[in-house]
């Protein structure tokens, strides 16, 4: 086993797949010669050549459209959108074309495209480098939506995404590329080498799409979250002093309803945490699902802790970010409800 941060793990997944499958091509803005602005594709063009690892024009719509054409022609394209905030020019190609191609042709055409894109805040990126638009894509029928929270999962889930027959939007929480983040920006940064999920096999392995993971067992309350917030939530649970079961949702579509609901039916309480804005956010879908499936087991109203319903504010990042104090307050709140 090697020690890898999330950047290394993603690079390793791409390396493994480029090596194993001649159909895999990797492209996007700055991903080729330079190796990506976050270094996720570092060294891959040198190793696999510029027909397999390509730089592209600054044209997200063009990147996704050409990925679809390549997928139709038998390749397995892995396209990078440099920041999730830049994905909107490609929205029509993702929603109207990529997501629905198999459906509209009754299975005669499909494009197994993986779109990798760094998301989330906590890096002083302001409103154009901090967004979490995952909920926008979970509302679209025909694409899978994945967001890992650690290097081990990132590699296994990315390989699964590339091997998947369906299109996948793969969100990479950029705040935890280099180390887990517990929500306190004033503490010294921790490296992944100090975390068990920083141990990553060098070769091929997969983590199934559609499976959540219980990252901390507990009996008082279930905390549903994903991405960076998995680590923030863990800090909040310590702060609140409750015996919470933390579930890393990992795959938003398709959703592992069984794992989530089994836990809530056991604990009777549920707090949902995500960085994205609250109104019509993915937490609303989680909350509705829990209500439908676990209503008679609930001891308290379901609580959501999210980004406020404003654009991501540069100067007020830590007032906006749903940090440990807000999550701990919600945990205490659902414990006190009767």
């Amino acid at each position: 086993m090697a020690q890898m941060n999330m950047v290394h793990a993603i690079n390793s997944a791409l390396d493994v797949m480029l090596g194993r499958d001649p159909r895999v091509v990797v492209f996007g803005e700055d991903v080729g010669y330079f190796g990506g602005v976050f270094r996720c594709t570092d060294g891959l063009q040198r190793k696999y050549g510029e027909h397999r690892v390509l730089d592209t024009p600054i044209s997200e719509g063009g990147i996704v459209a050409t990925a679809i054409g390549m997928g139709v022609n038998g390749l397995r394209p892995v396209a990078e959108i440099q920041f999730a905030d830049y994905i909107y020019p490609a929205f029509d190609q993702i929603v109207s074309e990529l997501a629905r191609l198999r459906y509209r042709t009754a299975g005669d055409f499909c494009a197994p495209v993986t779109i990798r894109t760094p998301c989330g805040g906590g890096i002083r990126g302001g409103q154009t480098h901090s967004q979490s638009p995952e909920g926008v894509f979970t509302h679209v029928c025909g694409i899978k939506v994945v967001m890992p929270s650690n290097p081990y999962d990132a590699k296994g889930l990315l390989i699964s995404s590339i091997e998947d027959e369906d299109p996948v939007v793969f969100f990479e929480p950029k705040r935890i590329y280099n180390g887990p983040f517990d929500g306190d920006p004033h503490k010294p940064a921790l490296p992944w080498s100090a975390h068990p999920k920083g141990e990553v096999p060098e070769g091929h392995y997969t983590i199934p799409i559609g499976k959540a993971e219980i990252v901390r067992g507990g009996s008082d309350v279930t905390l549903l979250t994903y991405g960076t917030m998995v680590h923030v939530a863990a800090a909040a649970v310590e702060l609140a002093g409750v015996d919470a079961e933390i579930i890393d949702v990992r795959t938003l579509v398709p959703l592992d309803v069984d794992t989530l609901c089994t836990s809530v039916c056991k604990t009777g309480r549920c707090v949902i945490v995500h960085e994205a804005t609250r109104f019509s956010g993915f937490g609303a879908e989680l909350s509705a699902t829990i209500q439908e499936e676990c209503f008679w087991h609930l001891e308290a109203p379901i609580a959501r802790v999210t980004g406020w319903d404003t654009p991501y504010p540069h100067a007020f990042e830590w007032d906006y970010f749903p940090g440990p104090a807000r999550i701990a307050a919600a945990l205490r709140g659902v414990m006190e409800a009767r």
Binding site: P57, A65, G69, E97, R104, T105, A106, P254
Partner: protein, 425 residues
């Protein structure tokens, strides 16, 4: 004080006014030079302002672009174009009778699909748009299958999921038509890039209207095609009208659409889209260039949308009724027919006989197609199939929803057995 004013484009004639096509530059047939297929884009910019024409007003083939096709090939071309027209007429009538929900005729534009399709190899991939049904017909897709798609019946290739005319044909190397116009243009470029990455000698071709060339997808396609010199032919069909908006609203007033090509470093060729021989020859030129790693070509096909935009449209409200009769480039079928007659390879009698044969064929196909059901009558598709093909494997939430619909449908058949979903189990 000066004040800026917007220029709001106006077509040359509105209903009740005399049709006026004086804005079109139409040089005589045979006058354009045919450059080497690997000539640098910026050395052949004149192809974007001229008009490649082979057939003159008397039906003679002139000049260096004459592809010198065998008469038999021309007869096949005439047959494909005529079959397309008869198919269109029948489907239009069936829509008017309420048998199908919608239709789009390609009348007057048959050559811009049939000629490129015949000039390309069967292994080349086509990314169609509206009014390119001639591609499917030329490649030999059965009319019955096209009709079944329009009927959303039990043999519908789209399994009831799409409006009429949204055909596709994987085995025939024809991609799916999208109602979100222009999306196929950059996809074709990606397909062509993949062909080059894989080291194949297949090329891609796509079609877009001059109206939807205003979408960003056009720019994406041109940029990627130019940057990577992708083996792709980008056909822009300038049929003068995008529903009620004339070509000036897509930016055609001061430059030709073909002239956009050299702006990207791509050859732009303006061709008489109603001249089968010219369209065939220009496609062959572009295909040779693409296969020899010479990169993409933008072809502007100058034609006229003789029909309404669709069965939901009434062009009498926005353009003169007589425009089609006044169109200076004529009818592609009539022009090819007269050329063949001039060669001594066709007669009015043979033409009339062919029309009768094709009409009978279309009638027989329609009879067979409706025997597989229609949207409203006869055997129908299983509604539970709507949950298939959203994903490769059906995920749990779709299985649950399918089960919910199954129960509802069963309850409709046997009232009284309704099982209300229970909250507590």
């Amino acid at each position: 004080m000066t004040q800026s004013r917007l220029h709001v484009p106006h077509p040359p004639a509105r209903p009740g006014e005399k049709p006026d096509f004086s804005y079109l530059h139409i040089p005589p047939a045979g006058g354009e030079a045919r450059p080497d297929t690997l000539a640098p884009a910026l050395e052949i910019e004149q192809l974007g302002t001229g008009l490649v024409r082979v057939l003159d007003e008397r039906g003679q083939a002139l000049g260096p672009w004459n592809p010198h096709l065998e008469p038999q090939e021309l007869q096949v071309a005439l047959r494909h174009m005529l079959l397309t027209r008869h198919f269109d007429e029948r489907m239009q009538r069936m829509q008017r009778q309420g048998r199908i929900s919608f239709y789009m005729k390609s009348t007057g534009e048959e050559a811009v699909a049939v000629a490129p399709c015949m000039a390309l190899q069967p292994r080349d991939m086509l990314f169609p748009s509206y009014r390119t049904q001639g591609l499917f017909i030329t490649r030999g897709k059965s009319l019955v299958e096209l009709m079944c798609q329009c009927l959303s019946n039990t043999r519908d290739m789209c399994r009831g999921r799409q409006m009429p005319v949204m055909y596709h044909w994987a085995e025939g190397n024809i991609f799916s038509i999208s109602g979100n116009l222009a999306t196929q243009f950059p996809q074709a470029v990606g397909w062509a890039m993949a062909a080059a990455i894989k080291g194949e000698d297949r090329i891609a071709a796509s079609w877009i209207g001059e109206g939807s060339s205003a979408e960003a997808d056009f720019h994406h396609a041109m940029t990627f095609a130019a940057v990577y010199q992708a083996p792709v032919i980008l056909n822009l069909v300038n049929n003068q009208w995008a529903i009620s908006s004339f070509q000036g609203f897509a930016g055609g007033e001061r430059r030709t659409f073909a002239q956009r090509g050299p702006g990207y470093g791509i050859p732009g060729v303006r061709v008489d889209g109603n001249d089968f021989l010219a369209v065939y020859a220009v496609t062959r030129w572009a295909a040779e260039r693409a296969r020899a790693s010479g990169g993409p070509t933008l072809i502007e096909h100058v034609t006229y949308r003789a029909a309404a935009h669709s069965t939901s449209d009434d062009p009498a409200r926005y353009r003169p009724k007589e425009e089609w009769q006044a169109w200076p480039l004529g009818d592609p079928i009539t022009r090819l027919k007269e050329h063949l007659i001039g060669l001594g390879e066709w007669t009015e009698e043979r033409h009339a006989a062919l029309e009768r044969e094709l009409e009978a064929h279309v009638t027989a196909c329609w009879k067979e197609a409706v025997s597989y059901g229609t949207l409203t009558e006869g055997v129908s598709l299983d509604p539970l199939s709507m949950f298939e093909d959203v994903f490769h494997e059906m995920p749990p939430h779709l299985k649950r929803q399918r089960e919910e619909l199954r129960r509802l449908l069963a309850a409709q058949q046997a009232p009284g057995d309704v099982q209300a979903p229970s909250g507590k189990e």
